[in-house]
Amino acid sequence: MSYEQPDARGHFGPYGGRFVAETLMGPLAELERAYAQARTDPAFQAELAADFRDYVGRPSPLYFAERLTADAGGARIYLKREDLNHTGAHKVNNTIGQALLAKRMGKKRLIAETGAGQHGVATATVAARLGLSCVIYMGAEDIARQAPNVRRMRLLGAEVVSVTLGSRTLKDAMNEAMRDWATTVDETFYVIGTVGGPHPYPVMVRDFQAVIGEEARRQFLEREGRLPQALVACVGGGSNAMGLFYAFLADAEVDLYGVEAAGKGLASGQHAAPLTAATGRGVLHGARSYLMFDEDGQIRDTHSISAGLDYPGVGPEHAWLKDIGRARYVAVGDEMALAAFHRLTRLEGILPALESSHALAYAHELAGRLGHEAAIIVNLSGRGDKDVESVAAYEEAKTCRA
C-alpha cells in the first residue's frame, strides 16, 4: 500500500487544509517554503539528529514491562519511554525541530498553546536554550490543575498567559495563540504542539515526532526479530500517536490503536473523543477534521481528567486513518485511566502522565485479549510528576463525596 498524504495543499483526503484568516495565509506559505527547504537540507537534519541525541537523550528506551504483562495476563507489553526524554515527554522532539526552523527563519520570539503544560515546558525549554523570548498561552482551568508545569515554564523565562475566555482550556489557549500570531507575525514563530492546525503544521509535527516510531520499530525488531501485533497511543490532538504510528503505516499486519479520552463516559457527552464518538466533522483551528460541536456548529465544551487530552478536535491525519480503516480509535474514561496510572506506578515503578495512562488502560485490556505469543508497544508519552497534585485532589474529592 502506498501512502502519499497529505496532498500539496495539506489535505488528508477530505481533512486538513488551511482554514485561517487571510493575515495568516502569507506567513503559512512562508513557513511551508522554509520547512520544505529544511526537510531536505542535510545540515538541518544533522543538527536535529545531534540535538535528539545529546540534548533530548534519544533514542528513548523500549522497555519490556514484565510485571505489567503478568498482571494483564496476555500479550507482552513494551513501553516506548518518551517519558525519559529531557522535559519528560515526547513534546520536545517537535519543539526542537520547530525552534531550529524558527532560528533559520530569523524569528526572535516563540509562542505556543499548552494544555497539560508539557508542550509549554518543551517550548520554553528550547526558547531558553536558543535565547528566544517565549510566551505560552494556557487556559485558566489548566493553569490550576497543572501548577507544577506553570512554575517550570516561568523558571525557564517564559511568560505564561492565563486564558479566561471560553471554556478556559486547550482550545481557548490555541485561539489566543493564533490571535497573538496574527498580530506579531513578522517576528514570531508559532510552535503548534500537535498534529493539528493549518497546513503545514500537521505534516511538520508528524515528521518531527516520527522518530518515535522509527526507533521503536528498529528496537522491537532487534529484540524480537519480528514486528509487534499492535501499537497503542493516547490521542488528544494526536502527536505522540502519529509519531509512533507513522513508521508502521505500511506494515499492514501491525494494528494501530488510538485511545481518546472518554471522560465521564461517551453517553454523558462529557468527553473528548471526537473520533470514537464520531458525532461530526468540521473546521476548527485551521483544519477540517472530526470535531465536537452542537447542532448550530458551536464548539462543545469537553471533559477529561487529563488536560492534554481535553480538546474537541483531533489532527486531520487521524481522521483520515480512521476513515481508511488503517487505525482504530477507542476511548477510555477518567476512572480507568486513573486505575492505569496507579497500576503502572505500583507494578513498574514508573509514574505515567494521565494522558499516557489512557493508552496504558486500553493496552492492559487489549493484552489480556491477545495471546501470550503476541506483543504490543504502548507509547508512554510522558511522565506523571505534573499530575501528582491533581490526582491527589481528585481522589480526595471523591472520598469526600463517598
Partner: protein, 272 residues
C-alpha cells in the same frame, strides 16, 4: 443590479460608504432588528452583522465577548438570518452582509445556508477563516443563490495572491488594515493607503477597509481613499457599556451619525 453594487455605484466619486458592524443577537436577539434600523437612520450605507461563533479566532476581546453574550442569549446562525428577514420587511434598500466562521455554516450546509441567505435578503457573506483556496463548494452555492462572496485581503497578502482573492470575490473586497485581530489600535493609515493602490491595480471591485478604525477621526482619514469604511469593535464596545437596550440604541445612533458626518465628500476620483 444587486443592492451592494447599487450603493457603491451611487457613492462612487462622492464619498466612502459607511459599514457599521454589530454582532447578531448581542445583547439579545430582540435588539438586532431595532439596532439595524438605528444604524440606517444614523447613515449606514451597508450593514454587517456577525454570526455568533464559540471560537472567533480572528476577533479581539470586544467581539469575542459580543459572541459570547449572543450565544448565551440563544443566538444561532439560523436566528441571525431570521433577524435579517425581519429587518427586510421594513427596509428593502440597505445591503446586509453576514460575517462569521466556517463551522456553523458548514454545519447548516453551504447550500441550505446560501438558500436561507437569499430568502432572507442577505446580500453578501464573509467567512473569516475560509480563504478562496478552500471555498470552491461554498462559492458555487453562493453564486447559484445570488449571494456575494466577500474575501479578505491583509497587509501580509503577497502580490501573487491578490488576483486569486480578487477573482473569488464579488460585491466588494475587504482590506484588513492591520496585522492583528478586530479592535486592535495600531492602524497605520499611510500604509493602508499605499496598499490599497496596489489592490486597485488587480481588481475593479470596490475596496472596503476595516480593523482598527475607532472613531470619527480615523474614519475620516480612511474615508479619504477607501470605497468603504468598516467600523466594528468601537460600536460593540460602546454597546457593552450600556445597561438597557434603549440606551444602546440611542448611543449607537449618535456614534454612527458622527462617523458618517466625518466621512469626507470628495471630488470625483475617476472620470467615470
Amino acid at each position: 443590479m444587486s443592492r451592494i453594487k447599487g450603493v457603491f455605484a451611487a457613492l462612487k466619486g462622492r464619498r466612502a460608504a459607511l459599514i457599521p458592524f454589530i454582532a447578531g443577537g448581542d445583547p439579545a436577539l430582540s435588539a438586532t432588528v431595532p439596532l439595524m434600523h438605528a444604524l440606517v437612520r444614523a447613515g449606514a450605507d451597508l450593514i454587517e452583522v456577525g454570526m455568533p461563533f464559540s471560537d472567533p479566532m480572528a476577533d479581539g476581546p470586544v467581539i469575542q465577548m459580543a459572541h459570547q453574550r449572543a450565544l448565551a442569549a440563544g443566538a444561532t446562525t439560523r436566528a441571525v438570518i431570521d433577524q435579517v428577514a425581519a429587518f427586510r420587511r421594513d427596509d428593502g434598500r440597505t445591503p446586509v452582509i453576514l460575517m462569521g466562521y466556517v463551522n456553523p455554516v458548514e454545519t447548516m450546509g453551504y447550500e441550505a445556508f446560501a438558500c436561507a441567505c437569499r430568502a432572507a435578503g442577505v446580500d453578501g457573506v464573509i467567512l473569516v477563516d475560509m480563504p478562496p483556496e478552500e471555498a470552491a463548494e461554498w462559492r458555487a452555492c453562493a453564486v447559484r443563490e445570488g449571494v456575494d462572496t466577500i474575501f479578505l485581503l491583509s497587509p501580509t497578502t503577497p502580490a501573487e495572491r491578490l488576483a486569486v482573492i480578487a477573482n473569488a470575490s464579488t460585491g466588494f473586497l475587504y482590506y484588513v488594515a492591520l496585522k492583528g485581530v478586530t479592535g486592535a489600535s495600531h492602524l497605520n493609515v499611510a500604509d493602508a493607503a499605499a496598499r490599497l493602490a496596489a489592490v486597485r491595480a488587480s481588481s475593479a471591485l470596490p475596496v472596503g477597509v476595516g480593523f482598527g478604525i475607532r472613531d470619527p477621526g480615523s474614519a475620516a482619514e480612511v474615508g479619504r481613499f477607501a470605497d468603504a469604511v468598516i467600523v466594528g469593535s468601537a460600536i460593540v464596545e460602546r454597546m457593552a457599556a450600556k445597561d438597557t437596550i434603549d440606551e444602546v440604541l440611542a448611543d449607537v445612533e449618535v456614534f454612527v451619525r458622527d462617523l458618517r458626518a466625518a466621512l469626507p465628500e470628495r471630488a470625483s476620483r475617476t472620470s467615470s
